[in-house]
Amino acid sequence: VTTEGFDLKVIVSPNTALYFIQVEWIATISSKSGIYILTLQDDSNNANFKKLSTNFYTERPITYTLNYPRAMTNPGATIGITGFRMNSNNARISLNVSSIEANKLKVTAMTWYDTALYYFGATILVYEKDCIQWAVETLCLDMVIEL
């Protein structure tokens, strides 16, 4: 990432053929915008995650806790998928922000029925919901001049 742009890497799993992709991006100076970007990914090398590729025909959720870079007053969050890897059955994946607190949030990833989920990735945006974004910083100088 530079001030001019960024490198986006597209990775395709073995035996997958990719024909089209659309990616939405956001770039922000967090210290000025109050928007913080978190990333999350996991795969079946994690023993807890491995249940998402076993125990078919049930809902299989897994929950993660992520801390913010700084505490928020009234935070909001939005989440998007950045990747996945599954078996050949129907593709089923659900990502949700399951709780939001002042300094952390929880993300729940889930698959169900006969889908085996081997990997997922997500981007989470955290921001102040009731933030009034001042366009300017005000400085008042009062001067009394006697002539």
């Binding site: 986006l8 997958t16 998007g80 990747g83 050949s88 001049i145």
Partner: protein, 116 residues
Amino acid sequence: LVRINLVDLSAKATRSQTTTSGKVANTKFWTWLDSVVYLAQEVLLHIPNYGEYVTRTGIFTKTYSNSFPTASSAERSETVWVPFPSPFSEVPSVGVTITSLDLSKNAPGLRVLVTK
């Protein structure tokens, strides 16, 4: 710095001029002829990097024709440069998400990431 005259001067003929240098603003007042200035007040608005964008968003799309979609038993990747509409004053944080795709159903797997 942008200057706004806030309070009128009790004078007929006045003039002020503000000059800036780094973090310092200097305001100079003039009056002339028989005018008397009793009070002068100005509000200086500090606009850091006037016109600077702190957040930009965009959409990247790509349609693959021949080489990339060819199924292979190996993981494949490519890196593409995504330019911002205009440069930032400092290196921003970048987040991405997949909003549309078309891929083969056989054991689908796809990742996108912003290289560090």
